[in-house]
């Protein structure tokens, strides 16, 4: 028992204390959080815009005149649908590598490029969540807005979107948590995120147990913290009920 504890202590010192290796983890955590936050932000903006385009196109289908504007809008809707199909039909690592090595081959701001890649990816999932939220709002709400004299955009802005966003807030928060874990593949494009940090320590100490368990624990704590926030949010939304 004593010997086992001693070896554990030595292992801990080797992996985290010697050479200030714990700093790899701290820096990695910072990179992970920055990528996640920027990607989350981009994903929400992109997702809401796409959801607006897609649901507007669907909502206005009946009785629409085939004007030039309507045709252009149809093209826009098609572009969104292709984007959703491609993003959701390919692995995020592959998307990340294409954006890093093919599209931005000459750039060297890896963190921003990774954030862009994960944001583009997350946007597709957010779009479908928000679109579902918009479509779930009773059409009577929309008609009440229009009958008061609001135009289409005003009705969306003042009546439909606030209700839709409230309904999908928990799903969006869960998407954010999934995104946090997904960024762990950022190491594929030489980003020193949390996962990569653990791997760097392992490659230097040849002792995989400590660094990898530490990385797992940090993710777990982060996810549990955000889940707890989502739970609080959901309870507040349910209690307000309006």
């Amino acid at each position: 028992m004593q010997a086992w504890f001693e070896s554990l202590k030595a292992d801990f010192e080797l992996n985290f204390i010697q050479g200030n290796r714990w700093k790899f983890l701290l820096d990695g955590l910072g990179v992970t959080l920055i990528i996640t936050l920027l990607a989350g932000l981009l994903g929400v903006v992109l997702g809401v815009i796409i959801a607006m385009i897609r649901s507007t196109y669907d909502k206005t289908a009946e009785g629409a005149r085939k004007t030039l504007g309507r045709r252009l809008f149809g093209v826009l809707d098609k572009v969104c649908r292709v984007y959703l199909t491609v993003i959701r039909g390919t692995p995020v690592v592959v998307q990340l590598m294409i954006i890093y090595f093919v599209i931005f081959a000459s750039s060297n701001n890896g963190t921003l490029i990774a954030a862009l890649a994960f944001g583009l990816n997350s946007g597709a999932y957010v779009a479908e969540i928000v679109r579902g939220g918009i479509m779930s709002i009773d059409n009577g709400q929309f008609e009440a807005g229009r009958s008061l004299g609001f135009n289409y955009v005003q009705t969306m802005r003042f009546i439909v979107i606030p209700q839709a966003m409230k309904n999908v807030l928990p799903s969006l928060a869960n998407e954010f948590i999934a995104l946090l874990k997904e960024t762990s593949v950022a190491g594929y494009v030489a980003e020193k995120d949390l996962t990569k940090a653990g791997d760097i320590i392992r490659s230097r100490t040849y002792s995989p147990f400590m660094p990898l368990i530490a990385v797992a624990l940090i993710y777990l704590v982060l996810v549990m913290f955000f889940s707890w926030l989502v739970g609080k949010l959901e309870r507040r939304l349910r209690n307000s009920d309006h």
Partner: protein
Amino acid sequence: MTTDVLIQVRDLTKTFTSASEIHALNGVSTDVRRGEVVVVIGPSGSGKSTFLRCLNLLEIPTSGTITFEGVDITDPKVNINVHRQKMGMVFQHFNLFPNMTVLRNMTVAPVELHRKSKQEAEAMAMKLLERVGLADRANAYPSQLSGGQKQRIAIVRALCMEPDVMLFDEPTSALDPEMVGEVLDVMKSLAKDGMTMVVVTHEMGFAREVGDRVIFMDGGKILEEGSPEQIFNHPQNARLQEFLSKLL
């Protein structure tokens, strides 16, 4: 009642083309005069709602014209939003905004459309709430109201835009029987104040008492129209006679 025409409807048709073609309106023509209360009756599926919803273009007519205050609003170049501000609408299922207080439900349109300042809109809303006996519910949410209260709020919400005409689509059909009276009372007092109203309803008592003119629709057409006395006591059309006999 003056004789000037507020809404002129000519040869209105509406065909829905979803799975199959449904001819909901087959050539409807009528005039709604300023200050007039027009009651629309008829069996279910006869096109009453479609007719009413065409008046403010919630449904786009397939053909025909609707002239409101001298403007043909079926013209695609017309900005319908401006004209809708002058046409209040009350729905069967209230359609209050569940995420807003009663006061915000009433003021969101006049304020965000820059018709009134927040203070003016709220002052007006409070006056209207007092009139319908709901001033104490100004800060309640719709989920905390009874059906009758919801519909009274829906009526005063529309009134906050100071419309020239009010359109009602079966405003009491979704209510428990004991709440019908309170909503009809508000509508009666509106009519007494000279509001122009088009009311789709199954409340024949209301039609007799308040209606200046009754329109009977069936199969997407107006089969008979006239004073309540004519329609209820001396119906000419066989379908109308049959419809009325079933009500008794």
